[in-house]
């Protein structure tokens, strides 16, 4: 279990993490979502004590990370798979970690097998590893001490589709056995498939959090027309909160029937009309983090999400 309370961190005048509070629970996979530079990695570094917080507190398994007596055996951490000595072999990197945690050498072989690195690959130096192999090694290092909690920053980066599937199953099993998983990503599909709970961060602030089902249920109806802005205006005139998102799509907070009737009454030909479930996370993500996006995604946001 991870408890983050009113965490803030700024660099000079720039607030990277602004009063962030959330809980990652045992038995669940918590997805930590946000655009690049939103504060995900900073928050995670603060969690494991690599960066000091200006205020607020993080507790992992009830303690500050720095107070964990042998952190590797309680919390598996993968912040950057490339942050390894390029001249060490994969096996040596796991061996060093195992020695630090006082684990038997046999654990290294078990783990190499678990993350599907062959003995030949394990004896290669990490400078010759692909990003996907580094991720596997990093996940291996995180799992080595049989921890209760996993903190993973973008672990799916560089994995091929089979690798992503493998990692998803691995994290699911870990959570099903009562473990806590906090996983950051900007890959929405990945998060949508695996996460039970979501924490969405934008510009250092939490813009939404809750179970995936709750958050996506709030997504309402997705309706599309040639001119999304006009459609949104028409729906607004009919008393339905609506905001255009992308490519003529409009996210409306009303059921299918009301939205369809309103569009019909306004004489707008609808090209798509459905419950905003599958695409919901992306729409929600773009809308919630609109202010902090680098690229404006043809969104004339009316901040329907801020409420």
């Amino acid at each position: 279990m991870i408890t983050v309370e009113s965490l803030s961190k700024s660099y000079g005048g720039f607030t990277a993490v602004d009063d962030v509070s959330f809980v990652a629970r045992p038995g669940r996979v918590t997805g930590f979502l946000g655009p690049n530079g939103a504060g995900k990695s900073t928050t995670m570094r603060v969690m494991v004590g690599l960066t000091g917080a200006d205020s607020g507190e993080v507790r992992v398994l009830g303690r500050r990370f720095a107070d964990l007596p042998d952190p590797g055996r309680e919390v598996g951490v993968l912040l950057d798979a490339s942050a390894q000595h390029a001249g060490r072999t994969g096996r040596e990197i796991l061996t060093i970690a195992a020695l630090t945690m006082g684990l038997p050498r046999t654990r290294v072989d078990e783990m190499l097998e678990r993350v599907s690195l062959t003995p030949d690959e394990a004896s290669r130096r990490v400078r010759n590893y692909s990003l996907g192999m580094r991720q596997r090694l990093g996940i291996g290092t995180a799992l080595l001490g049989d921890p209760e909690v996993l903190i993973l920053d973008e672990p799916a980066n560089g994995l091929d589709p089979a690798g992503i599937r493998w990692m998803r199953d691995l994290l699911r099993d870990f959570a099903d056995q009562g473990g806590t998983v906090l996983l950051s990503s900007h890959l929405l599909h990945e998060i949508e498939v695996i996460a039970d709970d979501l924490v969405v961060i934008g510009n250092g602030r939490i813009v939404a959090q809750g179970t995936k089902d709750e958050l996506l249920a709030g997504a309402g109806t997705l309706v599309r027309a040639a001119d999304g802005t006009a459609l949104a205006a028409a729906l607004g005139a009919a008393g339905i909160a609506a905001r255009p998102t992308s490519a003529g799509a409009v996210l409306a907070e009303a059921d299918l029937t009301r939205v369809g009737q309103a569009a019909f009454a306004a004489g707008i030909a609808v090209t798509e009309l459905r419950a905003a479930d599958g695409a919901g996370l992306e729409e929600m993500f773009l809308a919630l983090t609109a202010e902090s996006q680098r690229d404006t995604v043809t969104t004339t946001t009316t901040q329907g999400a801020a409420a």
Binding site: R45, L50, T51, L68, D70, A86, G87, E148, A208, G210
Partner: protein
């Protein structure tokens, strides 16, 4: 749309569930484990291994060259000690620098400090290992020099001259350990291998020249440089018996050039953000 969920979670965040862990906490990582791992990390890469091996290799080369090229009839243990000492005075401080900076240049500090969040424990282990390697390195280097001295006496048929006392030996080791500590301190200060190594050579090769120039121009500096110039008092350790004042000067310059950077560098590492 998320007003309700936000407040719910905010409340829960303030009052966390009563049982945050399922298992009892493990015992604290013992220091000897940290120290062993740090020692292993100094040898387990090609560059690290060859840096360590170069202690032996350069000692052998220096000794062989001394036997072959020196005036064999006049060679004593002191000549061999001087011959193996000069590569050591370069290699050992570099070992001191890299013991610290490799964590940053290779970004392994992310893993190191998440597995052992007590950064001062890691630094203490590194410092202890550095001093240990310095001592063993000097014993090995002087041992190779002693072999050279024996071989030389066998060639010439003259009895080998053992003209280094235990006290002088200890002084030579001390001088080299101080060099390593300076390297270690610069490593902590810069956390960058090139910057710290360049810094070491500036302190050791450039500053003596500047100090000499200043001394020839200014009488006060010529009289008192010993209190400020680390090299002046440290170099005395290699071949003379120090007077009380010279020991005092060594203490003062060590405090200024080694202890102070060590403290400032340690503070920087303990507080800095690890990325």
């Amino acid at each position: 749309m998320n007003t309700t969920t936000l407040t719910e979670h905010a409340v829960e965040a303030v009052v966390p569930a009563e049982t945050p862990r399922r298992r009892p906490a493990p015992s604290r990582t013992p220091f000897r484990r940290v120290q062993y791992v740090e020692l292993r990390k100094m040898f387990d890469t090609r560059s690290g291994f060859w840096l360590m091996a170069s202690i032996v290799i350069t000692s052998v080369i220096a000794t062989v060259v001394t036997v072959l090229a020196g005036d064999r009839d006049t060679l004593t243990f002191d000549s061999f000690a001087a011959a193996v000492g000069s590569p050591m005075s370069i290699i050992l401080p570099i070992i001191g620098v890299l013991a610290v900076t490799s964590e940053w240049s290779q970004r392994t500090s992310l893993t190191t400090f998440t597995l052992v969040p007590g950064r001062s424990r890691v630094l203490t282990a590194k410092l202890a290992n550095t001093l240990l390697i310095g001592f063993l390195g000097m014993v090995i280097a002087l041992g190779v020099g002693a072999l050279g001295n024996l071989v030389c006496s066998m060639i010439t048929g003259v009895d080998a001259q053992w003209d280094i006392s235990a006290a002088t030996f200890a002084q030579i080791v001390l001088a080299n350990e101080l060099g390593m500590l300076l390297g270690f301190a610069l490593g902590l200060l810069f956390r960058s291998s090139p910057a710290a190594i360049v810094g070491y050579f500036v302190v050791n090769l450039v500053l003596p020249g500047l100090s000499g120039a200043l001394a020839s121009a200014q009488q006060w500096w010529a009289d008192n440089a010993g209190w400020f110039d680390l090299n002046q008092s440290r170099f005395l350790l290699f071949d003379s018996t120090l007077t009380g004042q010279e020991w005092a000067q060594l203490g003062v310059t060590t405090a200024l050039w080694i202890v102070l950077p060590l403290l400032v560098g340690t503070r920087l590492v303990l507080r800095s953000e690890v990325k």
